[in-house]
């Protein structure tokens, strides 16, 4: 096994640990921080099931964004939905053929959708990038990191697309062996392909910066009090632990 294979295998383990622990830390932090007041943006659902529907429409359809700005919505949604399809396509590398999931993952439609989603992802990201540069308001609020983030994900998608459409010489069987090897701690060599190595290196960067960047919007949206609270303050008294202490303190 080449030194590069070892480096990548080690890096993947390290990046996974950083990603999982980093995200878990943030999620625990969000969950532990109380929301002392009822602040749903109204009109808001008056039941928990209503909140589930509201949240689902935000997460799946980007409902608020749709109300707000059709351009950002179309590019943003295209990118995120493609990301999901591409994710499904990538499952074939970590799902063993014996698994009950395999028939699903290996379906022609899943694989094809994931492949073409790569193209849609590029269009979505390019749209967002152009907006960031062209619209003066968005340019003003952008930091270097905002551009770099788009460039990073664009590059990941682009190398992925190149591999599935043009340079189709990556040894997929060996790649799967490498991926499963990571899962089972039985490290296997990485196929030698410049595109693949670039693709994976960029993914590693993305994994590491996920918990320390604006990508935290992914867990964040679920914890947003304006979206996840039930509108029932008159019916049910809502009291944060620190506020309850205040009451004990001075009546």
């Amino acid at each position: 096994m080449s030194a590069l294979s070892y480096i990548f295998a080690g890096a993947f383990v390290a990046a996974t640990i950083l990603l999982v622990f980093g995200l878990a830390r943030k999620i625990v932090q969000y969950a532990r921080t109380p929301a002392p007041l009822k602040i749903p943006t109204t009109p808001a659902p008056t039941t928990t099931s209503g909140v589930v529907v509201r949240m689902a429409s935000e997460v799946v359809l980007f409902n608020s964004l749709f109300k707000s700005n059709k351009w950002i919505w179309i590019f943003g949604w295209m990118f995120h939905f493609s990301l999901l399809l591409a994710f499904f396509r990538h499952l074939r590398y970590i799902v063993p053929p014996e698994s009950f999931l395999w028939p699903l993952v290996s379906m022609q439609i899943v694989q094809a959708a994931g492949k073409y989603a790569g193209l849609a992802m590029l269009i979505g990201l390019a749209g967002l990038f152009v907006r960031r540069i062209v619209v003066d308001r968005v340019r003003y609020i952008s930091s270097p990191s905002d551009y770099l983030m788009l460039i990073l994900i664009f590059s990941i998608a682009a190398t992925g697309v190149l591999m599935s459409f043009y340079a189709r010489d990556v040894d997929i069987v060996q790649l799967k062996a490498f991926a499963l090897g990571l899962l089972y701690f039985d490290w296997q060599p990485l196929p030698e392909s410049g595109l693949l190595i670039t693709h994976l290196a960029l993914v590693l960067i993305l994994m590491v910066i996920f918990p320390i960047s604006k990508l935290l919007h992914a867990p964040g949206v679920f914890f947003s009090p304006t979206r996840n609270q039930v509108d029932n303050p008159r019916e049910k008294r809502h009291l944060a632990p620190w506020a309850a202490k205040l009451e004990e303190g001075n009546g």
């Binding site: 943030k26 932090q29 969000y30 921080t33 929301a35 002392p36 007041l37 009822k38 602040i39 943006t41 109204t42 009109p43 808001a44 659902p45 008056t46 935000e58 608020s64 964004l65 109300k67 707000s68 700005n69 950002i72 943003g76 907006r131 619209v135 003066d136 308001r137 968005v138 003003y140 609020i141 952008s142 930091s143 270097p144 990191s145 905002d146 770099l148 910066i209 320390i212 960047s213 604006k214 935290l216 919007h217 964040g220 949206v221 914890f223 947003s224 009090p225 304006t226 979206r227 509108d231 303050p233 008159r234 049910k236 008294r237 809502h238 009291l239 944060a240 620190w242 506020a243 205040l246």
Partner: protein
């Protein structure tokens, strides 16, 4: 005269190009020691203000999930950039909601995140310098906490939460805003925002009784501190004398009278407003709210009803149970608290009160949804009742009603420009400019649908509009209270009738 230009109402609303720093001079008067101290804040900027501010920020990060999650989650998508009336009216880049948040987020990143600590340039992180603090003071007092941006953000990021936190941080280091803090002090000391003491209040109410009896021949009462009354009415103190607020108060009294409901005002809680919210102070908001509970207990009432006020209704509807509850000593058959519109609407539905709509025929009405009612509370049992119920009331007592364009009402409503603790003369420029989108929508219905008057259910909106609409070529008296319309049209038993049968034309 004003030393600024009133923005021009264009034919169609336009999203302006950004301008840098054109409103950075706008700052409210600083609070002095005498106003800071009663609220528990230092009287002037403390020596180690930077460290104290960081410490306060850390405390708030641990106390408010909204603050913590919103500082992390913004992706700078730009969806909110054209949603703030202050941006649309001033074109100042820092009045874009995300830019306003970023004034604080930059400091948060620098101090509390890995990326900001080690790569500040990359993520736009900065230390809290004196210049940054000055920017905070300026631009966090150009946010009316109207939550319009929150409606459109894909993560519901509410800039109001950020500006409340910013104001709380500034208060804690001795950089408070005079207007809000002085008023809160008056509430603690005297009982209401205006500093109207009990005898003056009693006098005013007596005067109103005479006025209504002269007018209608019906002895409509305005009871004060009446023990054993069923309903405690808590209303903004502007209702006691300001125009058109007071006509609304007369409307509530007529409704109670005609429905035979026993009610009272309280001199202890003679104020519905709660400016504790504007300065983001849970403690002060709680202290103000507790007065209402005390008044209810002392007077032995069964229900609490709030008069027409936007942010007061938010604090009442969304927070009162939290801050001063539980209200299990009140009649469980009624929600606590209720909005006067809920009471009136219910009476209309049950046929208890009736109207002679023709009394309002000289007007064509439109209705301004106040932000705090629209986006931070509810009326009735159904989501959206806060839009439906006031309109139903207006339609029940007026023949002519037209809504403004749909992207300027309901949850998309534009702030009057004077909410969130900005209703002070030292902020006149931002108030006038911030009213632009609402004025645009009003002008549209005035020109296309013959609208003559705009009704509102918020004391701040009414005061703000009467003051700023002359800048846009309208007149003060075009702003009316919803219960003023009720008052004009309600049929009171035993009232003098017009002998000639021709209503509304006599001198």
């Amino acid at each position: 005269m004003a030393d600024f230009e009133t923005p021009e109402i264009k034919e169609y609303p336009v999203i302006p190009h950004i301008k840098l720093g054109v409103m950075s001079h706008s700052k409210p008067f600083l609070s002095k020691e005498e106003f800071q101290e009663p609220l528990g804040y230092p009287g002037e900027l403390v020596d180690d203000w930077q460290e104290k501010a960081y410490a306060k920020m850390e405390e708030l990060l641990g106390k408010y999930r909204s603050f913590r999650v919103y500082l992390d989650s913004c992706v700078k998508c730009g969806a909110c950039t054209d949603k703030c009336h202050y941006y649309l009216g001033t074109e100042d880049a820092n009045n874009m909601p995300v830019a306003r948040q970023d004034l604080l987020r930059r400091v948060y990143r620098r101090k509390f995140t890995f990326a900001g600590k080690y790569f500040p340039k990359l993520v736009g992180a900065v230390d809290l310098t004196k210049e940054v603090l000055e920017e905070w003071y300026s631009y966090f007092h150009q946010c009316s906490q109207c939550r319009r941006c929150s409606v459109y953000c894909p993560y519901g990021i509410d800039t109001a939460e950020i500006s409340m936190a910013a104001r709380e941080i500034m208060d804690s280091i001795g950089m408070g805003q005079k207007y809000c803090n002085e008023i809160i002090g008056k509430v603690f000391k005297i009982g209401n925002n205006l500093g109207l003491p009990e005898p003056a209040l009693a006098d005013t109410l007596e005067g109103l009784e005479e006025e209504v009896e002269d007018d209608t021949g019906v002895p409509v009462k305005f009871p004060l501190d009446q023990k054993g009354a069923d309903i405690l009415l808590v209303t903004p103190s502007a209702d006691f004398f300001a125009e058109p607020h007071v006509d609304g108060l007369i409307g509530y009294a007529k409704v109670f009278h005609q429905a035979g409901l026993s009610w009272t005002l309280s001199s202890h809680a003679s104020e519905a407003a709660n400016f504790g919210m504007f300065i983001g102070s849970y403690e002060n908001m709680r202290r103000i709210s507790v007065r209402i509970r005390e008044a209810a207990e002392e007077l032995g009432v069964k229900r609490i009803v709030f008069g027409e006020c936007g942010h007061a209704w938010r604090v009442a509807y969304s927070f009162l149970n939290t801050l001063a509850g539980p209200f299990d000593f009140l009649d469980p058959n009624y929600p606590v608290p209720q909005h006067i519109c809920e009471v009136t609407y219910d009476l209309i539905q049950r046929g208890v009160i009736k109207f002679d709509k023709s009394e309002n025929d000289h007007m064509t009405l439109t209705y301004h949804d106040s932000c705090n009612v629209a986006r931070a509370s509810r009326m009735g049992d159904e989501p959206g009742g806060q839009f439906r119920i006031p309109r139903e009331i207006i339609k029940a007592c007026c023949n002519n009603f037209v809504d403004m364009p749909s992207d300027t009402i309901g949850e998309a409503t534009f702030c009057c420009g004077g909410g969130g603790g900005l209703l002070t003369d030292d902020l006149m420029e931002i108030r006038v400019k911030g009213a632009l989108p609402r004025m645009q929508a009003l002008k549209h219905v005035v020109e296309n649908h013959g609208v003559t008057h705009m009704a509102a259910i918020c004391a701040i909106c009414k005061s703000q509009f009467t003051k700023v609409i002359p800048y846009y070529g309208f007149t003060m008296d075009q702003i009316v209270s919803v219960h003023q319309l009720v008052s004009e049209a309600i049929i009171l038993d035993g009232a003098d009738t017009d002998d000639d049968g021709d209503s509304g034309d006599e001198e």
